[in-house]
């Protein structure tokens, strides 16, 4: 694929805008597409991905080669890499989304009004959705299939590290969808990773209805400042586990270990552990040892380090840091109120857990902490669309409007009112 050929005569802004115009046209046709056409397209996309594995691996090899030349870490190269299992997982994803109920056309509410008007609130697509993402090329497919099922045209803007993989994946699924009867241009990749193009995308009011940036704080800041299109950030999280004085300490150890270690790079992993001072001396030494053995670097406040000498000293910045790695900040608190206050000050309103046997404190924690998901006696790692039974996930929103927490298909829709009458006029 010759990238420069496609966009040689256009500025990055013109390229994005022309894609957005085509997406808007596609969205108009997709708005009334039947569930059957959308599901046929999803199955065709799965077949096409499996049939064209060799080309996918070849494109991916170019990205990996460039990545090695640029000195990407092994962890990043692993995220980038596509193999048979990962292509199969993408194809499975297509079929799973085909099997989900179609959110479009759902009657979200309605009533007959006293004047006889029949009011119904119908779920409809948003229109054109932009998705901005980083290294993992499977997001190309994941984002496209969810947008398609919800009746939206999608503009995919992946990271430069995976550009060849992303563009080929987009081309394969776009062609398969169209051959199965979906409108042309309902899946399009932005063929440049130029920052000006991304910043232009988030100002295309009237063409683009929603942009979902999936990435770190840098991306968030650079887009927030310029965006006029609505954004929902599928952002990282600074999650907390609070171990109350009444906790079952064995349960608390299991939850804390799971929340930190099971998959530390995810947004729902714990970043700060808060421990009631009454149980810190008994609880922290054994847990710290267990975490250390799993490779976790511990950074404690003064009281935490009194309880366990294997911790380094935490800095003030540690409380605000999303490590997304095997690093954990630990703080000893006087009571549940101090834990709640700490989370309010430092948290990112994603997921927080309390481990306790005390009913009133469990309820207080859930009522007073203003985060997307609150847990009593369970790991924060469950904040996930699949775990929550939504079937699929576009990302996890830590903002309050439109969607909060794991975003399923419904978060890619809106509603409209349809009002059927017999000549009613307003008095």
């Amino acid at each position: 694929m010759n990238l420069s050929q496609n966009i040689s005569s256009e500025t990055p802004q013109q390229h994005v805008e022309s894609r957005a115009r085509r997406a808007k046209d596609a969205a108009v046709r997709l708005r009334t597409a039947s569930t059957k056409i959308k599901n046929d397209a999803l199955h065709a996309m799965a077949d096409a991905l499996l049939a064209q594995q060799d080309e996918i691996f070849a494109a991916n090899a170019r990205d990996l080669q460039t990545g090695r030349e640029r000195g990407l870490s092994d962890a990043l190269l692993d995220r980038l890499k596509l193999n048979e299992a990962r292509v199969e997982a993408m194809a499975d994803g297509c079929r799973q989304v085909a099997a989900l109920p179609d959110p479009i056309g759902e009657m979200a509410g309605g009533r007959t009004l006293p004047n006889g008007l029949r009011l119904s609130q119908v779920r409809v697509p948003l229109g054109v959705v932009g998705v901005i993402y980083e290294s993992r090329p499977n997001v190309t497919v994941d984002a496209a299939i969810l947008c398609l099922k919800a009746g939206n045209a999608v503009l995919l803007r992946g990271g430069s590290e995976a550009i060849h993989s992303n563009l080929l994946l987009a081309r394969i699924i776009s062609r398969a969808a169209q051959e199965a009867g979906a409108p042309a241009d309902c899946i399009q990749a932005i063929e440049t990773t130029d920052r000006a193009a991304t910043q232009h995308l988030v100002t295309l009011n009237g063409l683009v209805d929603l942009v979902i940036p999936r990435g770190g704080d840098g991306l968030k800041k650079s887009l927030s400042a310029v965006a006029t299109v609505p954004l929902i950030f599928a952002a990282a999280g600074n999650c907390h586990v609070y171990v109350d004085e009444s906790a079952d300490l064995q349960m608390a150890s299991g939850i804390a270990f799971n929340a930190k270690v099971q998959r530390p790079s995810t947004c729902n992993a714990m970043e700060t552990l808060l421990v009631h001072r009454a149980v810190a001396p008994q609880f922290l030494p054994a847990l710290a040892k267990r975490l250390c053995e799993a490779g976790v670097e511990l950074r404690g406040d003064e009281r935490a380090r009194e309880a366990s000498s294997i911790m380094q000293a935490a800095t003030e910045a540690d409380w605000d840091t999303e490590f997304l790695a095997l690093t954990l900040a630990v703080r000893v608190v006087d009571d549940v109120d101090e834990a709640i206050a700490h989370i309010g000050r430092h948290g990112s309103a994603h997921s927080e857990a309390i481990v306790t046997r005390d009913y009133a404190r469990a309820e207080k924690f859930c009522a007073e902490v203003d985060s997307a998901a609150l847990y009593v006696n369970a790991s924060t790692r469950f904040t996930d669309g699949n775990e929550f039974g939504l079937g699929a996930e576009v990302g996890i929103s830590t903002q309050k409007l439109h969607a909060r927490g794991p975003m399923g298909l419904e978060s890619l829709t809106t509603t409209k009112y349809i009002v059927r009458g017999d000549g009613q006029v307003r008095a």
Copy 2:
């Protein structure tokens, strides 16, 4: 009230920011306030408004005096004016909102997951809501009571024409709410109408959760460009009525007349009438005469003027104009497809009606027009929170995210997940 005294030592930005900080503190306390406290506060506010009518009239007289000196039109002066009936209406509003079900604490969903986790999605307040509005001082009370009932602290920023009325109303209801047990500072007015203050308000991420600008296109543009806080515009609308060839023409006349004339200054009033060419010669002359007699100025395209000579020639700009007055653009179209295309090109996605006897065209119009409310055989004037049975209305949203159409109490809330477990960790 000496305005300059209150803010003399602060810049407008500092004033807004200090109010927002106090609002955030109030929001934390209001988040867990009982329904009883909120309703007691609403009733106390109603009593206080009635008890302090004379002071309200005195403050209002100052605004009217200034308005007359500045040469405000009679229509604007009328909007500004408070009399006994209007104060009573505000007090009634308080009691009506008290009588509405409390949206907070509603279980919006939930299930027990296969691993035994009990998941519930609970409706909670947004936090701090800013409302920016223009001349009518009753919005001070309307906005405050809806925010309070939904558990939000509110920052009220009214227009300069009504500043004395607005500040006094805010002070009266704020004091009454606090005396009835609501947190201090849960209702605050911004004491400056400086534009820099408004622009600062919409960038206070972390302090302000939502800003609702209620006003014209100028306000919309000046805020969109700078806002980083989520905005929902309660905007005007460019609404359409399409009279199909199969319409009951008497019904069509009644609907068109009502949609234009009954209250032309509202956002759900018709601005453009589209008429099928087959019925234009029969339909338009009588309707045009009836509208003219009601004082409506008609601006038709060529075919409309062939049918009725009393129309002026419409310009291209007329199709995009929200007249909000007794002015109507009229266009003759070839069929329902041309009507749908016209609305897609020129509409503001607010409210549109089709008048028809044809089932398929009615369904097509509702499916293909992408507006907040679609009507078959009824006036667009019904797009309204009270008419739709929402009990009260913050405004009407023509955007797609979070809330679309009339915004009731629910649009001032968000949800959070509460997950109760017994030690579950993720495998």
